[in-house]
């Protein structure tokens, strides 16, 4: 949409005006032709010149109309002007007395009307033409040269005045047009700004819609991925449960028979095993147990994953747990030159935890300590720190590089830490310990330096309901 220029706008207004004007003139023309025809028939002598003049005027009007239809405004105005002037000129040239008296006074009207349609310069050009016609046209007839000369001069004066008036009015018209145009343009700018804002808004709207669609798509994908992960987790849990079952059945025979042979000779009519057999059978028995522990660990982790691990938080007595763990540790040490030390408070505080799981975690720490300590000692310290009980298992093993202090608590990462150390297991024990401690609202971490041994710490919440529960049993009973 282009903003119209000042000229276009004025021309539009004038075109409308001329469109009315030529039609009115044409109708007037036809009416006059009829009138002249009636007058002529009454007087019984035809004045042909009137018909010719009115016909010229009519043709001028029709040409004007045609030009207007094809948007040739200037040509249309000039057709209209020339039609009028020619008609007047023809009437004057005939020298008829009525024409000589009336026609000169028609010219000022024509000039005024045309002056409103043309520019000031063109108006004065038309005025010049009119002056020429008024002065020259009557000289073609004998009567015209002498009669009504003052009439014509007066009409000439009037024509000039009307030309000036028209120019004045046109100027006014231009001013009004300019003002209207200015307002129009201002209005247009506002509207355009509005349009622009609306367009931007629409664009923004489309963009945000696209974004929201994209978001929805991403959400859907996320949901699908989540469901897939959930399903995978479920299948993994089911698979592990089945695997555990399938592995336990052959282990039942491996562990069961090696144990009966090693421990219960009465079941074989007291026939003694040859020492070499007994020696090797021990390996079968120990390996079977190791395998069983591994299966139990994997099963535990899958239970934690599935949120199915049973943890019963209840006040537990530490004495039997520590006794059991220490006796297991003593069994694990065997003939190695490793001593077990304890530094325990009297009385031992009671903790709020799951007894089996606490035993499992402590056994794991001792089993690791025994595994990695070739000689020296393993010391258990128990202290109450505010509302928590802290267990510390300190060994004199090779120690752990600080960069691995977190990694060792991640699943299957032990191998990464200790490389191909034959003592490393599957690396599940500490991962499980951390999970169990989290479930029991406790904590596990390590302090260690390479070459200076390691200390694993555990925190468990103290049981506040029975503060003196353990006071009855002396800790001396624990000395092994």
């Amino acid at each position: 949409m282009s903003v119209p220029t000042k000229h276009d706008f004025a021309t539009d207004v004038r075109s409308d005006r001329l469109a009315v004007l030529w039609k009115v003139t044409l109708i007037g023309c036809i009416v006059l032709i009829w009138t002249v025809a009636i007058v002529a028939s009454l007087n019984r002598h035809a004045e042909m010149i009137w018909f010719v003049a009115l016909a010229v005027l009519g043709v001028g009007c029709i040409i004007t109309g045609l030009f207007l239809r094809y948007d040739r405004y200037l040509l249309a105005v000039w057709s209209y002007t020339i039609g009028g002037l020619l008609a007047g000129g023809i009437a004057l040239a005939n020298g008829e007395s009525l024409a000589l008296q009336v026609i000169p006074f028609v010219f000022p009207i024509i000039v005024f009307v045309v002056g409103l349609l043309l520019s000031a310069a063109n108006t004065f050009l038309v005025t010049g033409l009119v002056a020429g016609i008024i002065l020259i046209a009557p000289t073609f007839s004998a009567t015209g040269q002498t009669q009504f000369v003052e009439n014509r001069l007066f009409a000439l004066g009037l024509t000039v005045v009307s030309a000036l008036l028209a120019a004045q009015v046109t100027g006014e018209l231009y001013k009004v047009t300019e003002w209207a145009l200015l307002n129009y343009q201002r209005e247009r700018r506002t509207t355009e700004d509005l349009f622009e804002s609306r367009r931007l808004l629409q664009k923004e709207l489309v963009r945000s819609q696209a974004l929201s669609e994209e978001l929805q798509l991403v959400n859907q994908q996320l949901e699908t991925a989540r469901a897939a992960a959930e399903e995978a987790k479920h299948f993994r849990g089911q698979f592990l449960a089945n695997m555990s079952h399938e592995l336990r059945t052959p282990l039942n025979a491996i562990i069961g028979f090696s144990e009966t042979m090693l421990v219960f000779p009465t079941m074989y009519n007291d026939v003694p095993l040859p020492p070499a057999y007994e020696h090797d059978l021990k390996y079968i028995f120990e390996s079977g147990k190791q395998l069983l522990n591994l299966i139990n660990d994997i099963l535990d982790l899958s239970k934690v994953d599935a949120g199915k691990l049973d943890i019963r938080l209840e006040p537990i007595e530490l004495t039997p747990i520590i006794e059991g763990v220490l006796s297991t540790a003593a069994g694990l040490i065997g003939n190695k030159p490793v001593k077990l030390h304890q530094d325990l408070p009297t009385p031992l505080p009671s903790v709020l935890a799951d007894a089996n799981r606490v035993r499992q975690v402590l056994t794991n720490l001792y089993s690791n300590a025994v595994k990695f300590t070739d000689s020296g000692s393993i010391t258990l310290t128990v202290r109450q720190v505010d509302a928590m009980v802290q267990f510390s298992v300190k060994d004199t093993g090779p120690g752990i590089d600080p960069q691995f202090h977190e990694t060792i608590f991640e699943e299957f990462k032990q191998a990464e830490v200790v490389g191909r150390d034959p003592r490393s297991g599957a690396g599940l024990g500490l991962a499980i310990a951390r999970q169990l401690l989290t479930l029991m609202q406790g904590r596990i971490w390590v302090e260690s330096e390479v070459g200076k041994g390691s200390t694993f710490h555990i925190l468990l919440p103290v049981d506040t309901s029975h503060p003196e529960a353990e006071a009855t049993r002396p800790v001396a009973a624990l000395q092994l």
């Binding site: 336990r248 059945t249 282990l251 039942n252 028979f257 144990e259 009966t260 219960f264 239970k303 049973d310």
Partner: protein, 122 residues
């Protein structure tokens, strides 16, 4: 002591037989739940051991329910290779007196037999 053992795995059976022979207990064996249900009333068992995962229509727990419904008073011990949460409760709920998970801890089974044998002796 007469022990009825319902188990479809020969190796497991043979392990229990090996443990039982130390205490000179007699093991009467069934490989499926239905035959155990049909016959064990005549066995005059002092202890019944059932494997939970039995092939056929009756698994160990179903068998226990049927035995209890039929008025069987003999102690029943469930043996299972499943070690999942809730297994123990399910066994006790079905009417078992105890539950042992496989692989069987031999010393514990020996003690268990001694315990029930002493009850029978009285």
């Amino acid at each position: 002591m007469r022990i009825v053992y319902v188990e479809d795995n020969e190796i497991n059976l043979s392990l229990i037989q090996r443990i039982a022979c130390a205490g000179r207990h007699l093991v009467i064996h069934y490989t499926d739940g239905q035959s155990a249900l049909d016959n064990c009333a005549n066995d005059q068992a002092d202890l019944i051991l059932v494997d939970v995962q039995l092939q056929g229509k009756l698994d160990g727990l179903e068998l226990t329910r049927h035995l209890r419904a039929a008025g069987q008073q003999t102690p029943i011990i469930a043996l299972t290779a499943y070690a999942m949460t809730g297994d123990r409760d399910r066994c006790l709920e079905a009417g078992c007196n105890d539950y042992i998970s496989k692989p069987l801890p031999v010393p514990q089974v020996v003690r268990l037999f001694e315990h029930y044998a002493s009850l029978t002796a009285k």
